[in-house]
Structure formats: structure tokens, C-alpha cells
Subunit: 426 residues, 2 copies
């Protein structure tokens, strides 16, 4: 793992906006599903997933079958993780509020859940039951009545059983065997078997990402996720084995994943570099992790912790581990990071699977302006204005002044229409 | 104004995604500003705004000059409106939170303001000081340290004085004389004179909208606003003059604006139709309002109020006025509406200018999943996990189970690395 001075590190990463061919393919799929509904879904599913389906919805029998295929240990761990996720996200729930004035005016903000949400779940080896929990539970805590999953079937027409088990634990209402851009199209426009949703969340390949970007505005979408990232800020007190293991835990996700150590300690830098080599040797996903470490990994030497925090804030990492003496005393220096893990035992996989915080976190520097997935992503707000006669009589002419200044006479007249009646009442 | 049965009303509206020429023009502008910075800004400003500028930033002298050009009445109304907007939005402020467990684990969520936000303000006749207040004040309540405005200059190189006055009242930090897609480019990539921002908000023409859509992901953007809309749900108790005036107040915005009355009362429907004609007659923006009413206006007859609410929820209007007997008793029937105005005195312009709620509200049916602009739009959240040794010892093997089920061995090893040390301590 290369060790460089932080001042030489650029770290700019780019957004994959797909090739022209990919963009055109996605547009063709969106159009076909919009026009021909389920028949188009059937054709694409046959072409891309190599199975012809009549019914897309997963049946009760399939849920039962899946449940038998998942070990009790995995089930128990999923159930306990789900409880922790519920506990964390219940703390994010907000209430509608009102304020009343002595003048008779009432102002407020109503919070309501979205009505129907679609969760895209990748298939194959990237089928992660933990992601089902992380996406579906906040929606259910927000009281979204209809949470539906779309996920590509295998060539046998089946869904990964752990996905189905996780969906049941999370309280998902419907699951459909459709993947790719065609699933995004079905969720956006609706088909005979799949009703349209208000929002689409969840990760996917480049076709899914492009399709989500394309339908943005017709439905709401979550962020377009990039490759995973971890940055560790550590000093002499950190255990190099832990630091190396945590860096590799993100590096194994994708050859594009970034794993960065920021440290003022040359000793730690050398030790972590050696540990990464040692731990890489027998990693099952060695090729992926090795490429990630080589192409997007770095150990950045800084002069002191303050420079370290400045570097971290420039990177705005998805995951930030702080393994330094008294980390809470430095927490206020973090400006940009999606999730912050403090101390030697807060290994990032603790957050991926179990602690309860969400593992859907902004990547690629977008923690500058984005937030982890939360209950907030599944609600909508409405303002409420009940203006009193007394307030309108008092303030009506000011409103007319502002409307006329902007050249919007009809705005002013809507107020004047009332004021005239008030005058005639006198 | 046409009167039709609600069952015959489609009301589908489309999103203007621009012509191919417009899209290509926007991409060329983005690229030029990205590569050549201020020099490209100068060229585009000369071409589109017909003025050559050396310095883009508005000077102190220009603020003073502007202040002298705005009447005391307008200033006083803006100051009072700003106070109301502050009062409303302060109620939206959220706190960071933590929860501690007896096991030593701490979990939480930190709320921080974005660091730098750009507000696009249209020029010419669409320069609305009220919009400056509505966009900038929530950012300042969120404690964004740097709020900057870009707005196109007139051919004399000046900015609308009321915009500058409103910006000072709202506490805006910097104003630059740049408009169009080139302003969005400057805010996204930064130039010599204009530093890049984390988020761009504010309305604009089709070029601004396309540019915002294009840079989405590099910076955060607010919703892409469509033409304004109002829906009024009214019964026999409503005053047809008020209903008509309020419908026209939105119709005057844009020939594409929608103004819809939903009512079970044929008597009211006829009276409002007549009133709209009467009030249209001498409206300064008569042509615009007339086109809006003709092309996007309708009076929809329903069998009863419950059907009326169902129609409203399908429309998901930006503005909803409810002028019926005991409106609060029916408030819970509204599922989709950006801002809800109750009773005869809550004329929609009250909310546009003065009550304190935000007037940046989701259009075009997106109130199904979007919310009015709020303090939430100017903050970001970070999760915090400080996991205890005791919890890791207790739960580590469950985390490993879940990681291995997903085929992510390095995730499991990061945990196992710690568990091994715990075992050796025994």
C-alpha cells in the first residue's frame, strides 16, 4: 500500500455516467415497459435473467421454501440486527407540529409517510439481506403502508432465500422477480402486475443507476451510490492489525472501492502497510481487494491530527474510523463524513450489519451535502396555514405591497377582494 | 372556465426536459466554464445579458445604491415577512442526538449545516425578492455560514435593487452577477472569482433547470420546479369571489400554470366560472392568466367532499385551499399537497409573501413524494457509532455470521481480528 504525503494526494473520483450505448439501452427499456408493461418485462427477464415468467410476484410457497433454506444462526442474527436497526431509526421519527397565535392564526407542518416505496435489490453474488433490512426498516418505521421489492430472479426463476427471509423480517409487503432497468421502469410507470411507487431506493448496477437517474422527477430516488469507501484516521495508539483489517473490509467490495489511512505516525503507516500485505495473502476476495488497495488505496502522512481532520473533510468519506486517543474530544472536527466510527472496537462491519445505524451512506465525496438513509427519506411534509381574519385585516396591505412590487397584481387582488369586504363591514 | 365531471379529468402534466439543442447548449456552457472559468463567464454574460463585466461580485456601493431605490413600505414589508419566515423555520431546527447503553456503546446522529450554498435568482421581470427570503432564510436558520446568490445582471450591469435589499435582510453573504447555465456551472465547479458550493437552490428558466439536472450528484440540487399550481376544494359555504381571485393569483404566473376548483356544488361552480371571467377582464397580466385558465384550468364537479379529497390527492397540488365548513375536521383526508390553506382568509398569496411558511413547494404532482423547502434542505447528517468491547465480545460472532452469509470474508475477519485478542486476554 503506497505511503504518500497528504499534500500530494488528489483523491478526486469520478461519477460513472455510463456509455452512450448503456444510456440508449436504458432509454429503450424504459420506453418499452412504459408502453407494453408486463409483456416487455417478460421479454427483458428472458433476455437478461434467462427465465420466462408468467407471474412476477413471489408466492407464499416460495417464502416458506426460502425459510427452510436459511440456517437458524443467520435467521437469528438477522432478527437481532433488525431489532437494533428499528431501535436506532425509531429515534429519527418526527412529529407534525402546529403553532397557534393569539390573533387566531395557526401555522404548522404535517409529516406523512410516502404511500408506496420500491426497493431495488441486486441479484446474484451481490444479493445482500443486510441491505434489505437497512432499506426497508426505515420505510416501515416511517409507516409507509406499501414497501415492495424488485430483484432479478436466477435462471431457475428463484430469489436468493436469505433475501426473502430478510424481507419478511423487515415487513416488506410484496416482492417481484424483476431486475435491471426494467424493474425501475415498472416501479415508475406501473404495469399490469406491479403498481407504480412514489420512491425508488436501493443499489444496483450501472443500468439500474442510469434508469433511476432518468426517472428522477417522475418518482423520487435515493442517491446514486458509488463504490464503497473507508477512511481511517489513526495515531500511534491504534492497532495496525485492526486498521489493516478494516481497510480491507471495504476494499473487498469492489476494485473501485477506496481504502485510505490518514495518520501522523510513520510507525503506524509502515506497520499498516505490512499488515495489509499479510492479511491480503489468504483473503477469499483477494483479487478485488488487491486492485482496490492498489488503485484507490493510500496511506496519507500528515503533520498532526488537525491536518488529518482537514484531509478527512476534503475526502468526505462514506465511512470514517477514528482510532486515536480520546476520539470524542475530536469529534467536533469532523465536518464531512457519512458515518463515524470511534475507537478500536467500532470496526466498520459493526455498522454494516448490526449496531443499528444505517449502512446506506453517501459515497464519492457526497457526504459534503448528503446523509445516510433514514426515516426522513420516507416521509413528506405539507405546510398548513390557517390565517385569521384579524391577521389579514392587519397585514393585508403589506402583502399587497409586496405583490405589486413584484408585478403580480392578481396576487394583490386576491387579498384586496377580502379587505374590501372587511371595510364594508365597518 | 370549463366545468367538467371529475371523472373525466386526466390532469396529467409533463416535465419539460428541453430540446436537444437546449441540452447541447447547456453541456457546452458547463464545459466551457469548467475549463476556462471567469473568462467563459464573461463571454456568456456578454452574449446573453449584453454586458461585459470584470468583477462579478456586487460591491458595497451597489448595495447602498439599491437601498435608496426601494421604498420604505416595501422594505418594511420585507423585514416583517422575513421575521415571520424566521419564526416558522426556526421550528424546523433539529438537534443532534445520542443514545448510550449500559454496555458502554454509544450511537447517535450528528446534524450539521452545509458549508456553502448557492441560490439562483432569476433576473428581469421574474426577479422576486420574496423568493430570496424564502430560499436564503432557511439556509441561515440551518447556520450555513456561506450563502451566495447568482443572478443575471441587466444590460446596465446592475441587479434589481429589491433583490439586493431582500438579500441583505436575509443575511446573504455574497452576490454575483451571473445568470443562466453559466451561473450553475460556476457554482458547481468554481471559478477564480466564485468558489464552488455544496448545494444549488432556486428557480430558473429551462437552461438553468437543465444545468441543475446535469450537475446533480457533483453538488446537491433542490427540486426542479415546474409551473405554479393551485387547487381549491370548496363547498357551498365558499365565497365565489374569493375562490376566483385565488385561482387567478396562480394563473397569472405562467401560461402553463394550473388553476383547478374541485367542488360538489353546481351553484358554486357556476358562480366561480362567472367571477373568473369578470375578474380576468382588467387584470394587468390578463393574457397569461387567460391562457393558463383556458389550457390548464378546470372546475371539477364531484359527488361529495370525500370524492373531492380523492381527486385532490390524485392531483397532489403545490397549493391547496380548503374553503369548506369546518376545514380542520377534514384536514386528515389530505394525503398529497405541498401547502394547505384553510378557511376563507388563508388566500394563497398570504403564504407566498407573509405568513412565514415557505413558498418553494413541490409542483407537478411531486407533492406525492417531495416537501416544501425547509431547514432540512440545508443540513446533513452523520451517524456515530462508538461500540464497546463488551458489545463486540457479545455480538461479534453474529456479525461474522452475517458477513460470511453474504460472502464478504474480510468483513468477518475485521471482527475476528478483535475477537482473537479478547480470547487471548482470558
Amino acid at each position: 500500500m503506497r505511503i504518500v504525503s497528504a499534500s500530494q494526494f488528489d483523491g478526486k473520483r469520478s461519477v460513472d455516467s455510463g456509455t452512450m450505448e448503456q444510456q440508449e439501452a436504458v432509454q429503450a427499456i424504459l420506453l418499452a415497459v412504459r408502453k407494453r408493461g408486463d409483456e416487455a418485462l417478460r421479454e427483458y427477464t428472458e433476455r437478461f435473467d434467462r427465465v420466462r415468467l408468467q407471474q412476477f410476484r413471489v408466492s407464499e410457497a416460495e417464502f416458506t421454501e426460502a425459510s427452510d433454506q436459511v440456517t437458524p444462526e443467520v435467521k437469528a442474527a438477522l432478527v437481532e440486527a433488525a431489532a437494533n436497526i428499528r431501535d436506532f431509526h425509531e429515534r429519527q421519527v418526527r412529529q407534525s407540529w402546529f403553532t397557534t397565535k393569539e390573533s387566531g392564526t395557526l401555522l404548522g407542518q404535517i409529516i406523512r409517510p410516502l404511500k408506496r416505496v420500491g426497493l431495488y435489490v441486486p441479484g446474484g453474488t451481490a444479493a445482500y439481506p443486510s441491505s434489505v433490512l437497512m432499506n426497508a426498516i426505515p420505510a416501515k418505521i416511517a409507516e409507509v403502508p406499501e414497501v415492495v421489492i424488485t430483484t432479478p430472479p436466477g435462471a431457475d426463476g428463484k430469489i436468493n432465500p436469505a433475501i426473502l427471509v430478510a424481507a419478511q423480517i423487515a415487513g416488506v409487503d410484496e416482492i417481484y422477480k424483476v431486475g435491471g432497468a426494467q424493474a425501475v421502469a415498472a416501479l415508475t410507470y406501473g404495469t399490469e402486475q406491479i403498481r407504480a411507487v412514489d420512491k425508488i431506493v436501493g443499489p444496483g448496477n450501472i443500468y439500474v443507476a442510469l434508469a433511476k437517474r432518468e426517472v428522477f422527477g417522475l418518482v423520487s430516488i435515493d442517491m446514486v451510490a458509488g463504490p464503497s469507501e473507508i477512511a481511517v484516521l489513526a495515531d500511534d495508539t491504534a492497532n495496525p492489525r485492526y486498521v489493516a483489517a478494516d481497510l480491507l473490509s471495504q476494499a473487498e467490495h469492489d476494485p473501485m472501492s477506496a481504502a485510505i489511512l490518514v495518520t501522523p505516525s510513520q510507525v503506524l503507516a509502515d506497520a499498516v502497510a505490512a499488515e495489509v500485505e499479510r492479511q491480503l495473502a489468504d483473503l477469499p476476495r483477494k483479487e478485488i481487494a488487491e486492485a482496490a488497495v492498489r488503485d484507490h488505496g493510500a496511506i496519507l502522512l500528515v503533520n498532526d491530527l488537525d491536518e488529518g481532520f482537514a484531509v478527512i473533510n476534503r475526502i468526505a468519506p462514506e465511512h470514517l474510523e477514528i482510532m486515536i486517543d480520546d476520539p470524542f474530544a475530536h469529534l467536533g472536527k469532523v465536518e464531512n463524513a457519512g458515518a463515524i466510527f470511534l475507537g478500536p472496537y467500532s470496526s466498520e462491519p459493526v455498522g454494516d450489519y448490526f449496531a443499528g445505524s444505517n449502512h446506506v451512506i453517501p459515497t464519492n465525496g457526497t457526504a459534503r451535502f448528503s446523509s445516510p438513509l433514514s426515516v426522513d427519506d420516507f416521509i413528506k411534509k405539507s405546510s398548513v396555514v390557517s390565517y385569521s381574519k384579524r391577521d389579514l385585516r392587519e397585514n393585508g396591505h403589506k402583502i399587497i405591497t409586496l405583490a405589486e412590487q413584484e408585478g403580480l397584481a392578481a396576487h394583490g387582488r386576491a387579498i384586496a377582494e377580502r379587505l374590501r369586504d372587511f371595510d364594508s363591514e365597518k
